[in-house]
């Protein structure tokens, strides 16, 4: 067994323990602000090493196939670590601002969920996948409700997330059990081999439906999305951001691992399921977002809608489609992180409502500009990454639709395009608040160093992915030949 394969996970675990012990060692009542920096530094180092090292050649497994270290997993590791890095940076000042006393536990949980997601992406077996998923979920349940003493809503968000998450988890588990019954194996590769010749028995379809539903919860597709707005609204902003990008990416990893890899031969079945949910998502998320006043809720609905777009690539199922999904996930990561970072800075002293952004262009032109980039990127406007990302996704969809004659997919892409106009409305409303509306408060919004670093990184990536995406595409192409 090659333990080298699992080195990144070990490193992250080590980081978690380091944080945990540093917290223990620090005297009672002392500032634990530096823990954020430690976390960020740790993530940055691991990330740098990962980026510098070459992709694993071919799938390498450890623990008897329960753990896969392939290039896909590597890409997701990079995604999660980037998100974690940004979330740590965002947390440095956010925790102080919200007065969270349990910073040590906070960072420990943050590292744990990151670890869980990395394991998730590397899972080679339904069991390890499920365990990693639960580790991730439990960590997030706790993180979401960490502001407990502050308000009634954080425990509300926690219990909602837990109940609904547990249902999804039960659905997934039930589906897994049927799959196990049908195939006699839990290994993803085994399932892939088995599904080659599998008949479309009702039990198999049922299992696929349950598994897809469970995964849809994770990426928040309508109608399994309803937890997202409530949880996003109440969670600490860095966690919301982390949840919105990393947890969704984890869901994508699962979709790619389970559906696209193990059940590739049944694509004609599960793509229907996803397409039904996509259609619902495009309508529901975009339309309901129009009526939102709370910024984080608005972003929640936006992220639900974005999940719908991501599904185009998954449904297309082609190398191009999967590449597009990964690229968009990457863009979306930086974009959403930037947006939430700005929201967090603005709502430290201001309102978490949409109106809290009023006059931001006068108060802090830089922040407003970054938010503008982020929002436009989300809206798919050039020259930002979201544009190329969406273009890429739509290209994958149109390619499949036109060249493989999947008319429904083509229609769905057209529908996505139409609904993206609706989405533009609420993105423009955000811009309107910042640039057009005057503000009563003229004082600039404070942007501490950690936030500046995070924002700078995000903005840079939003622009690079939009203007010159070629290197990133090449990198992804190595991962998904």
């Amino acid at each position: 067994m090659n333990l080298q394969l699992i080195l990144p996970e070990f490193a992250v675990l080590g980081l978690g323990l380091l944080v945990f012990f540093l917290d223990l060692l620090a005297p009672e009542g002392a500032s634990r602000r530096y823990l954020g920096w430690v976390c960020a530094a740790g993530f940055a180092v691991i990330l740098a090493v990962l980026l510098a090292s070459p992709f694993p050649q071919g799938p390498s497994t450890a623990f008897g196939g329960l753990f896969i270290a392939d290039s896909l997993a590597r890409v997701f590791e990079v995604l999660f670590l980037s998100a974690a890095l940004l979330a740590s940076l965002a947390s440095v000042d956010a925790l102080e601002a919200r007065g969270v006393a349990w910073a040590g536990e906070y960072y420990f949980l943050l590292v744990m969920v990151t670890l869980a997601m990395m394991c998730l992406a590397s899972a080679g077996d339904l069991l390890s996948l499920y365990v990693a998923l639960e580790l991730n979920s439990l960590g997030f349940y706790a993180l979401v409700s960490i502001l407990k003493g502050r308000s009634l809503v954080s425990s509300e968000a926690g219990i909602k997330y837990l109940i609904l998450g547990a249902i999804a988890s039960a659905l997934l588990l039930y589906g897994f059990s049927i799959l196990y019954g049908l195939s006699g194996t839990l290994s993803l590769q085994g399932l892939a081999a088995w599904s080659q010749g599998a008949a479309h028995s009702p039990a198999l379809l049922l299992a696929l439906a349950l598994v897809t539903a469970g995964l849809a919860f994770k990426v928040s597709l309508v109608p399994f999305h309803m937890w997202a707005p409530d949880v996003y609204q109440a969670a600490p902003t860095p966690i919301t951001a982390f949840l919105s990008v990393a947890s969704k990416a984890a869901g994508l990893a699962l979709l790619m691992r389970v559906l696209d890899t193990s059940f590739h031969s049944l694509a004609g079945v599960w793509d229907k399921l996803l397409m039904v949910m996509m259609a619902l998502t495009f309508v529901w998320a975009n339309v309901v977002a129009l009526k939102q006043r709370d910024l984080k809720r608005l972003m929640a609905y936006s992220s639900v809608a974005q999940a719908g777009y991501l599904m185009i690539g998954i449904v297309a199922g082609t190398p191009l489609g999967l590449q597009a999904v990964l690229f968009y996930a990457l863009v979306y990561l930086f974009t959403n992180m930037a947006a939430f970072q700005v929201i967090q800075l603005v709502s430290v002293k201001g309102s978490p409502e949409l109106s809290g952004l009023k006059g931001l262009a006068r108060r802090s032109p830089g922040l407003a500009l970054i938010m503008l980039c982020a929002v436009l990127s989300l809206g798919g406007i050039p020259p930002f990454g979201g544009f190329f990302g969406k273009y890429f996704l739509f290209a994958a969809g149109v390619q499949e639709g036109l060249l493989s004659g999947r008319v429904w997919l083509l229609a769905l892409v057209a529908f996505a395009v139409v609904m993206s106009i609706v989405s533009l409305f609420y993105y423009l409303v955000i811009i309107k608040q910042m640039y057009i509306e005057p503000s009563a408060d003229e004082a600039p919004v404070a942007a501490p160093a950690a936030a500046r670093i995070a924002l700078g990184l995000c903005t840079l990536m939003i622009l690079v992915t939009g203007v010159y995406p070629s290197p990133i595409l090449d990198w992804l192409k190595q991962a998904l030949p």
Partner: protein
């Protein structure tokens, strides 16, 4: 295995438990009741796994192993869930889930 009892019997039982559990999750007023419903759902899946392992795939222990892990995880989840219930109760002096609706829209 059990004379006159096929895998189908176990499956129907688990389906029933799963459905009943889901009903409990949706319809119970008390948050604790909801958590109990969730346990039923997990157990339904566990029963499936064990039954499949016994009836169809007895060559390995994958189903049983999975069940062991899920039992543990369910316990952990119950712990966190109950902690949340307690914290909600502290804040609201009630665990009626339908009143927990500050976040909406």
């Amino acid at each position: 295995m059990i004379p006159g009892v096929g895998i189908g019997h176990f499956l129907v039982l688990s389906a029933a438990l799963f459905s009943v559990g889901l009903y409990g999750v949706i319809a119970r007023r008390s948050a604790v009741g909801v958590l109990m419903g969730l346990e039923l759902m997990f157990n339904a899946a566990n029963l499936n796994l064990v039954a499949f392992n016994a009836y169809l795939h007895s060559g390995a222990m994958a189903g049983q192993m999975f069940t062991l892990f899920t039992i543990t995880i369910a316990a952990a989840e119950a712990t966190v869930g109950l902690a949340l219930v307690v914290s909600i109760f502290r804040a609201r002096r009630s665990v009626r889930l339908e009143h927990v609706d500050l976040l909406k829209g």
